[in-house]
Symmetry: C2
Subunit: 385 residues, 2 copies
């Protein structure tokens, strides 16, 4: 889609942008910057991912907690349907209740119902002030407590609440930035990064400092760092953002992406570690040399990553099964934001009820009766019917 | 649905509420109040409307500009399908990319695809501070200018931006509150109500005052009132909220609900007035005794209301045709939030492309092949096929 890369229009009163499906996320954000607006979506791949793909995969990312999801921010779509006809639904209206909201079908359908060639989306004002702090925490329960306090004290300016465990720090430090000093003297089992975005730097900093003060007073956290400038802010973000890359460079990586009840998020990591430690499979030189947990706590979204012996398909399968079953048993999602694709399609029958699968098949059959769009993905066993 | 009125669960870490479809909006909000949360939806009918109905009609309301729409805030639905089976999709997860997002189909489908019996939704923190100001404006262009400045200066705390014309004031004053003094000495052609919701009263007031100062300095507005307490705030809101009731009490009312390019919103009112004045049909004692415009400017949502001679079906039809054609010609929506129902179903063929209608019919056929759910509504000519 990279040749469909035009920004078609932008309205500086409403903040509505209409773009080709192949426009790169960061390109649009750079276009919006001098106009005082920003894309309501931010993720590690921003320099290469395209907006049509963001729509088709229902991309979540780092600031969903603040700006909401694609289902709320996309106002219209232009989609090429399987029969070659074009669904011209590129509305720029924020409210429109004329019939079924067809565009919603294609958000997160992973290209199995059509190809997104145009996107209309609402963009918020670009924040004038961004503040970042990282805090150290004694337990996952303290992570949860700090999140509740952050929502209370930072409310409308809270734009990210990320967390990671201490093992994540070790991997990033050793693989990615050995010369970089971790900004905490004493190490903690958990860390949380809190970001605020607002229109007044002085107000935001006052709120952030009051919040950090309350954390210390109530002993929810014992140590914290506040970035003094945007360079420091980026270096704090690096400890979180470089985790996936670090694990990938450290060896053969397995990547998981779960959503569940926020209170259970880290129990999943602990149960998994216990299980594979008891089997003698987890640890330096074993099947899984490490296993770590981090993610978008504000969205109840946990990423688990591990390094595994190369070409160990049995080990891969065992980890998949354990984690996917754990998630399903605890009413979680086996993919919060990465999607089903072909890798997880066989687990769909375990996660979804017969009624849900029946409806998904009906929609797929109705739009793509010849099953030509991204075949074998998302909806299981379509080709058997 | 009123007997299905249980609040099923609430999670005070994530802010996710799960409720029966018959729970009244205000009841849920009262339940959330002591817990520090609020429903991300507010509308005049909050004391009687039910959440299942809010979902089915994709209710918009007064604070969509701040909290986004139902497509973003609803996390899961329980729906009784036309064949009697239950779609149990009551997820409490903020992110979930396992297959098609089925719940989206039922949001705004006006009950034509199933009955919503359960709703899971994300609720934001209840604001600790609410501020309200009303400003007088010389032209609609000044309304637009003040909106752009409000987004710039109030950004994350802006929770409503409503506008109304001077004719609206006259009707509210004469019909609803003759003893209430309108808070402006001099009258203006337009007024805008700006509301902020935030976590710190002092910060919010400082932002609001800076914004109002800038309006005066740049001559965008010449006069404004800031509510000093919640009672005054309510009395300022009354001038906006009582318009529909006032028109209904003043005679036989016609109510319209359009969305379009914000810059064109009031041109629609002016063109309509010109048209019917030229025909000699608008004015005291004529077919239409008055015609006024107001609405949710921040969402590009205009309500037009008029009083018409009782039982004048020709007059009703003429106004419908003029307005609906005007909206369609200007790429607007003939219903931003009220829905299609049976009254507007015959206009669907003018507003939607063949491809759009074909997809809507395919969805309807696929879920409700016997056309038993809310028949003759939303999708035109289903019964002819």
């Amino acid at each position: 889609m990279s040749k469909m890369n035009k920004i078609r229009s932008f309205d500086d009163v409403s903040g509505v942008a209409v773009v080709d499906g192949g426009v790169i996320l960061e390109t649009l954000d750079e276009y919006l910057r001098p106009r005082g607006y920003t894309v309501p979506l931010d993720l590690g791949a921003k320099g290469s991912c395209q907006l049509g793909g963001n729509v088709s995969t229902n991309a979540g990312g780092l600031r969903l907690i603040r700006y909401g999801n694609m289902h709320g921010n996309v106002l219209g779509l232009e989609v090429v349907l399987p029969d070659g006809s074009i669904l011209d639904n590129l509305s720029t209206l924020r409210k429109d209740n004329t019939g079924y909201d067809l565009k919603q079908l294609f958000i997160g359908a992973e290209g199995t119902l059509g190809i997104v060639t145009g996107v209309s989306l609402i963009t918020p004002r670009r924040p004038k002030a961004v503040n970042v702090a990282v805090i150290g925490l004694e337990s996952f329960n303290h992570v949860l407590k700090s999140f509740v306090l952050a929502k209370e004290d930072l409310s409308e300016i809270l734009s990210a609440f990320e967390f990671w465990d201490n093992d994540s720090v070790d991997v990033v430090q050793s693989v990615m930035q050995p010369s970089e000093k971790y900004p905490f003297g004493q190490r903690f089992p958990f860390y949380a990064l809190i970001e605020t975005q607002g229109s007044r730097a002085d107000h935001d900093l006052e709120k952030l400092e009051a919040f950090l003060g309350r954390l210390m007073e109530t002993s929810v956290s014992q140590d914290g760092v506040v970035a003094q400038d945007s360079k420091q802010a980026q270096s704090l973000w690096n400890w979180r953002e470089k985790i996936p890359e670090a694990i990938s460079k450290a060896g053969t990586a397995m990547t998981y992406d779960f959503a569940m009840d926020t209170k259970l998020l880290y129990k999943m990591v602990e149960d998994t570690k216990d299980h594979f430690s008891r089997l003698g499979l987890l640890g330096q030189g074993k099947t899984y040399s490490n296993l770590l947990g981090f993610g978008h706590l504000g969205d109840g979204n946990l990423h688990i990553m591990a390094n595994i012996h190369r070409f160990d398909e049995v080990g891969q399968k065992e980890m998949d099964n354990f984690l996917f079953e754990w998630a399903i048993k605890h009413n979680g999602s086996i993919t919060a934001e990465h999607g089903i694709g072909v890798a997880k399609v066989n687990y769909m029958k375990q996660c979804k009820s017969d009624t849900q699968l029946r409806l998904m098949r009906a929609i797929k059959h109705s739009l793509d009766p010849n099953l030509i769009m991204n075949p074998y993905k998302v909806v299981p066993e379509m080709h058997l019917e």
